[in-house]
């Protein structure tokens, strides 16, 4: 066994938080949240296929306060994973790895996802709420 007293990496307690690691952690976290969110899409389609009463029931649940809060969370997760996913696809070509660019594109993913979420929900709320 190796000497276990040596510091283990990544040493999160003393690690300085920086946007690059936040954007990476968030990509996984939002990915997991979206995987759970796929169930909402399935539920919506199944209710739509099962008839009017069942569809209205679904709309009621989704349009409830808790439903809307969850939807806002999922909207942000979706836009974050989308923005940061495009960032990763660009990086897969080998571009954008210089530290200043890397930091800038991390911030861009975070900020753009918040802006897009705000735009979509401004539209939803001015149109009179979800569902």
């Amino acid at each position: 066994m190796a000497d276990t007293r040596r510091p283990l990496s990544p040493h999160l307690q003393i690690y300085k938080w920086q946007v690059q690691m936040v954007s990476s952690i968030l990509h996984r976290a939002t990915g997991i949240a979206l995987a759970v969110g796929t169930l909402l899409v399935v539920a919506g389609l199944l209710h739509l296929a099962s008839g009017e009463q069942s569809f209205n029931q679904f709309k009621e649940i989704v349009g409830s306060p808790i439903g809307e809060i969850l939807l806002i969370g999922w909207t942000w997760a979706l836009f974050y994973h989308l923005c940061n996913g495009i960032r990763h696809l660009v990086q897969d070509t080998g571009a954008g790895y210089a530290i200043p660019q890397f930091v800038r594109s991390s911030w861009l993913s975070v900020v753009l996802s918040l802006v897009l979420t705000a735009v979509v929900w401004a539209y939803v709320l001015t149109a009179g709420g979800a569902a």
Binding site: R28, I32, N56, I86
Partner: protein, 129 residues
């Protein structure tokens, strides 16, 4: 490798590590991601256009041939991408082998179930309306 092992070290190393299907996983994850960029934007716009839509309008929208087709492509790609992503997370964090295998099989079962259920729902709507 023990001292008694007469096999060539290369023979022992071959087939280990990421030399099997790692590239396939990586590439499929990127291709589904690229497809989802387009499909997601379409999906979000379609859902937003259905705000306050009644049952008949929602049905008619899903039943349109182009929408039904794009929706089915979206659903399959979405579940496929979700499985590939969750698989990496499980492989990274679940260190007990049997729990890891169980989780990997479970997410695949769930994804196939979700994909089939939602695709059949779309087909039922598209073929009967």
């Amino acid at each position: 490798m023990t001292a008694k092992d007469l096999r060539n070290p290369l023979k022992v190393a071959r087939g280990l590590g990421s030399s099997q299907s790692g590239v396939g996983h990586w590439w499929t994850q990127r291709v589904t991601a690229a497809a989802l960029v387009v499909l997601l934007i379409w999906f979000v716009i379609t859902v937003l256009s259905l705000l306050h839509a009644d049952y008949a309008t929602a049905l008619a929208t899903v039943a349109k041939p182009w929408n039904a087709m794009l929706l089915i492509i979206f659903l399959i790609t979405m579940f496929w991408h979700a499985v590939l992503g969750l698989q990496v997370v499980i492989e990274d964090y679940v260190t007990t082998r049997w729990k890891e295998v169980l989780s990997l099989v479970l997410i695949k079962f769930l994804a196939v179930l979700g994909a089939l259920a939602s695709v059949l729902a779309v087909l039922r709507i598209a073929l009967t309306h």
